[in-house]
Amino acid sequence: MSRNPSRPRSPHLTVYKWGPHMLVSILHRVTGAGLATVGAAALVWWLVAAASGKEAYESFAKLATSWIGIVVGVGLTWAFFQHLLSGLRHFVMDIGAGFEIQGNKFWATMTLAGSILLTAALWLYIVMVRGA
């Protein structure tokens, strides 16, 4: 991309004090990238394993229920809920609302708390009710 060096540059990220709104903003991208790569691969692997037969499915299930599979699973569910909640926050901001600094920071913090709560609730349900 050709850039005209005589034009002024806007101050970039380093000049701002970090806050929850900045964290949530970059987390939306990070979680999205994680879900789009690791999450999509897991989805395809699961479905192809199920279509390939019992043996292939069992090797997938063995890995998915190993400790590393559970770590990835918890990570993916947290990324999913974080991306979902900050996506909903974007819907609000898309209509031009929620830009006042206090409210903006508050709802950014709420997406962080909400994603952790939803992840914990889902896995507690899986462990307690389903006994996985």
Binding site: M1, A33, V44, L47, A50, A51, G53, F80, Y125
Partner: protein
């Protein structure tokens, strides 16, 4: 159009005029709109499709999580018998389409933001398109194979 006026004023079309020294050399015809020379007029459509696909993905993943939690067993038999029901297979196909559509658009923005070299960007976007289409095709084929399997799944 403004770009055409500008290109005429700058004397576009001179032989040997590179885009760097003379941006107006590219600023004519439809190709100019996709080569740094202005809007491709598709920005809003990409933005809107990202929102539409995000809502679809949200609803379909809530359906998937609730469905999986309600399944009596997540073993091979449980999952394949569930996916043979059209009311499971069809939302799953929609989920795959919406998810790969959405993730392709999301990763595209990341590539466009961070890959500045035009050649690398072109290659990265091409590979992204292929990967998204390939992933979706594998997943869709798997669901259809399960859904259309005759006489029960191999045990």
């Amino acid at each position: 159009m403004i770009v055409e006026t500008a290109s005429q004023a700058a004397g576009a079309g001179e032989p040997g005029a590179s885009p760097e020294t003379n941006p107006a050399a590219l600023a004519s015809g439809p190709a100019a709109r996709v080569r740094d020379s202005g809007s491709a007029r598709e920005g809003a459509e990409h933005w809107w499709n990202e929102r539409v696909s995000s809502l679809a993905t949200l609803l379909l993943f809530v359906w998937l999580i609730v469905s999986l939690l309600r399944l009596p067993a997540l073993d091979h038999r449980g999952v394949t018998e569930w996916l043979r029901d059209p009311l499971a297979a069809v939302p799953m196909l929609l989920l795959i389409a919406a998810t790969f559509w959405h993730l392709k658009m999301g990763l595209q923005v990341i590539v466009e933001d961070y890959v500045h070299d035009e050649g690398n960007k072109f290659l990265a976007l091409l590979l992204l398109t292929f990967a998204a289409a390939g992933g979706a095709a594998f997943a869709i084929f798997a669901v259809l194979k399960i859904a259309f399997a005759a006489g029960g799944m191999p045990r």
